[in-house]
């Protein structure tokens, strides 16, 4: 099953209430918000109403908000090699 990945690239401020209502219905609250919906006719119709504002890609699996956050997060760049006090453990 495939999904639409919809990202709001341009704000809906100043657009007619109907257009802003479509954005609200899709859960696109502010710019660069990304939502996933299963591919269906009704969602396709909603996307067509706001096609000038969004970037749409077809993906095979949706991502949760936590997964999107995790994918943005950079590597920590370190790991704890030795805890304090562990160096003397062998001598006890």
């Amino acid at each position: 099953m495939s999904y639409f990945r919809i990202t709001l690239m341009r704000s809906g401020i100043g657009l007619p209430q109907k257009t802003q209502g479509v954005l609200k219905a899709l859960g696109l609250r502010k710019r660069m918000t990304t939502v996933y919906y299963p591919v269906s006719q009704s969602v396709a119709g909603q996307i067509l109403r706001i096609k000038e504002l969004v970037d749409v890609k077809e993906v095979s699996a949706p991502m949760t908000k936590e997964q999107m956050r995790a994918s943005r997060r950079p590597d920590p760049g370190y790991y704890i090699e030795q805890k304090a006090g562990e160096a003397m453990w062998g001598y006890k």
Partner: protein, 243 residues
């Protein structure tokens, strides 16, 4: 002879205008409001079609859809498109000829510097440096030894080993950040302290009110010392890669 040619020329001129003047001719054309050009009855078929001529090339093109070259990469599957702002860390492990030639020179030259990345932020350091991080590192205590494993530059006085430049992400592909292979170097840091700053007091006031609210805040910063920085030689690195 001259006379003959003159008569011949006259004969030619006369054949060029064989018809008498138009007003002497009988009225042959139909008088009609329909344009003669639009009547298709008496126009041959190829002439009608001449406006919409379709070349053989175009016919071939329509018959066979465009074929990609056989060595073209397969189209990206939808699965390989995660979140648009995601980042991808790539650690290059190939030993290029340049690395093969210059790594021994870099490794033998003393005092190296390194650009390590902690949570995606770069810090240019050498051995013995003290680094006050702009945050409190979670789950560490003074005395812990950290191993740094993300670096983009290793350098000495004359040589620098750089990872490729990061590629900015867009709607089609995620951001790509390139790091050096962590087996190329050994960088250890010891947590030596957790520093604090003086308490900040911010005065919050409302209009037409005598009350002043004080908001206190105090930040904690982890301090690291780079206890060990070693760059591996080529043989050592090749042995590690070969494993």
């Amino acid at each position: 002879m001259a006379l003959l040619t003159r008569t011949a020329r006259r004969a030619l001129l006369e054949t060029r205008f064989p018809l008498p003047p138009a007003f002497l001719l009988p009225l042959r054309a139909h008088i009609t409001t329909v344009s003669h050009n639009l009547e298709t009855d008496n126009v041959p078929e190829p002439l009608i079609r001449s406006g919409q001529h379709i070349s053989q090339d175009l016919k071939d093109k329509v018959q066979s859809p465009p074929q990609l070259p056989s060595d073209a990469p397969p189209p990206a599957s939808p699965a390989s498109r995660p979140s648009p702002h995601a980042r991808d860390s790539i650690i290059s492990t190939t030993i290029t000829p340049t690395i093969r030639a210059l790594l021994p020179l870099l490794a033998t030259q003393p005092t190296h510097y390194i650009t390590i990345h902690i949570h995606g932020r770069p810090y240019l350091l050498t051995q013995g440096d003290t680094l006050r991080l702009p945050f409190q590192m979670p789950h560490v205590r003074p005395g812990d030894v950290l191993r740094m494993n993300r670096a983009t530059h290793i350098g000495s006085r004359d040589y620098t080993l750089k990872a490729p430049e990061p590629v900015k992400g867009n709607a089609d592909h995620v951001k790509k950040v390139y790091y050096l292979d962590e087996r190329l170097f050994t960088c250890r840091a010891r947590v030596i302290a957790v520093e604090t700053e003086p308490v900040r007091v911010e005065e919050k006031t409302k209009r037409r009110q005598r009350h002043v609210k004080h908001v206190y805040s105090k930040m904690y910063f982890t301090v690291l010392r780079i206890s060990e920085l070693e760059v591996k030689g080529l043989e050592e690195y090749e042995a590690l890669v070969g494993e």
